[in-house]
């Protein structure tokens, strides 16, 4: 009888111990899982911020390099070309007095080539650094971009904005939107085989939306993402947007073609006026 009581006691203690262990295991799994998730989240956040910083630095360097090249083109090559043009003008006067028609024709051709080169250098300089964007804002810069494109291509590009006076945004945000617009339009011209592009800019209290729609062959955004066909252009758009907490969405309109819409949180410009790009400054710029 005493043995039976002892056995019962031992069994009771063993069962309670086992059940306590089971409870402990359940609690431990819950606690450890939660803790590990939090740690993982922290590491992910650090990694994300680090990548963002890297991307930001890379894009800043790119913009600095663009400015440097634009400055060199403007100051060095541009000046030299102007001087060449001046010298050719003087030489042209001498040739006119000598009365040699053949030499005069060669001179005129040379002058026209130099003038054309000067124009090209100016265009490249403006493409490299969107001075209009920094001076007058996004709407004017987009209009200028469209105007230049329509001159060079057989394209109809329309631009609409939800507001007549588009409020100035932070320099980085405006440049991001401008570069994305450039990339989307260039993509449409290069790959979509389109003859009409619509650009629209919308702003509300929180979000700026930039939509670029073309009537070209269109593409399936999911397929492109699945097959890793997203070229540097689309990746570049996503990278730029990641820095300003923006998103991009690709759609296939029912009437054909393709449409891309980038959404970025509003970030109004601070009181400081953007520094003018001309004359170019040598210092590093932080966009």
């Amino acid at each position: 009888m005493q043995n039976n009581d002892e056995l019962k006691l031992v069994l009771l203690i063993a069962s309670i111990a086992m059940l306590m262990m089971a409870f402990f295991v359940i609690m431990f799994v819950m606690y450890y899982q939660k803790k590990k998730f939090e740690e993982e989240k922290k590491i992910n956040d650090i990694e994300k911020n680090y990548n963002r910083l890297l991307l930001d630095t890379a894009l800043n360097s790119e913009e600095t390099e663009r400015r440097r090249i634009a400055q060199d083109l403007h100051d060095d090559i541009g000046t030299m070309l102007s001087l060449t043009k001046l010298s050719l003008n003087q030489l042209s006067k001498l040739i006119v007095t000598s009365g040699d028609d053949k030499e005069d024709a060669i001179m005129k051709k040379s002058q026209s080539l130099v003038e054309e080169t000067i124009l090209h250098v100016r265009r490249i300089t403006r493409d490299l650094v969107p001075t209009t964007l920094e001076r007058f804002g996004l709407m004017e810069a987009i209009e200028e971009f469209i105007h230049k494109l329509e001159e060079d291509n057989n394209l109809v590009i329309s631009f609409q904005s939800s507001t007549e006076e588009f409020p100035r945004q932070g320099q980085k945000l405006e440049l991001t939107l401008y570069r994305i617009m450039q990339e989307l339009v260039n993509n449409a011209i290069k790959h979509a085989n389109c003859n009409k592009i619509d650009i629209s800019l919308e702003i509300d209290e929180e979000i700026i939306g930039l939509r670029v729609t073309d009537n070209g062959v269109g593409f399936d955004p999911d397929k492109i993402k699945e097959s890793n066909l997203a070229g540097l252009g689309l990746l570049g758009i996503e990278s730029r947007l990641a820095i300003v907490n923006g998103t991009v969405q690709y759609e296939q309109p029912t009437q054909g073609g393709s449409s891309a819409i980038a959404r970025i949180p509003v970030n109004p410009a601070s009181g400081n006026k953007p520094e003018p790009l001309h004359p170019f400054r040598r210092e590093r710029v932080n966009i």
Binding site: N4, L11, L12, M18, L19, A22, V25, V29, Q33, F37
Partner: protein
């Protein structure tokens, strides 16, 4: 007939409650259509099997008949069905292979145990509960549950375990088999029609934790939703 049921229910409430409580998770699985997911389909089969068997045992017990045979038969079936859920939950092929191997081995072992403890199988009145099978079953199940928990912690795929139905099912099984582990061998001597050993309150411990596990199953199933489970 109902009178005998009520009478037995009054005499053995702790043993009777889990019989009818089993209907709750069955109803919840049916209502939430959780049976579309394979794990819950197996759980449903197990619960239906358990209810049918438990009710038969309840009916026999209320008529003063030995029900141990049904319990002995339920041991291998219970192991096959519950471990089968882990077959779909464990990720590594090697673990799955061991689990699959354990099923026929355990079934064979429990059949041997039934025959060993009851040389005269047809003598239902003096039928005894298996000696080793329940303990081995508990050990094996605790191993698979802990292995699943280990894999879950390592993989970090479930953001919130409290919202994850299978976590509750595992917790229920863990508590049930933990309560059974040390008591199971003694039940062989306690669950006899004649010359039985009195183990007092310990006899009811598995019944209490059976009810607890069924409640945990129900909590888990109530967390089930098609979309969240797919994630």
């Amino acid at each position: 007939m109902l009178e005998t049921y009520f009478s037995y229910f009054k005499r053995q409430p702790l043993a009777s409650i889990p019989v009818f409580l089993t209907l709750l998770p069955i109803f919840l699985i049916w209502r939430s259509k959780a049976y579309h997911e394979r794990t819950f389909l197996i759980l449903l089969i197990y619960l239906v099997f358990k209810f049918v068997l438990d009710f038969t045992m309840f009916e026999w017990a209320s008529n003063q008949r030995n029900t141990v045979l049904f319990y002995n038969l339920s041991v291998p079936v219970r192991y096959v069905l519950t471990s089968c859920m882990y077959y779909y939950k464990l990720e590594y092929k090697q673990q799955k292979t061991w689990l699959i191997i354990s099923m026929p081995v355990f079934v064979g072992f429990s059949v041997w145990d039934i025959v060993q403890t009851n040389p005269s199988l047809l003598d239902l009145h003096n039928h005894s509960m298996v000696l080793y099978s329940t303990t081995v079953e508990s050990l094996l199940m605790l191993f698979w549950i802990l292995l699943y928990f280990y894999n879950t912690i390592r993989a970090l795929r479930i953001p919130n375990l409290l919202n994850y139905p299978f976590f509750w099912i595992c917790s229920g099984l863990l508590l049930y088999y933990s309560s059974l582990l040390f008591i199971a061998p003694v039940l062989h001597y306690a669950s006899k029609w004649e010359e039985w050993m009195d183990i007092g309150i310990l006899y009811n411990v598995p019944y209490v934790f059976e009810s607890v596990s069924i409640i945990l199953f129900s909590i888990g199933i109530s967390q089930y939703s098609d979309s969240s489970y797919a994630k």
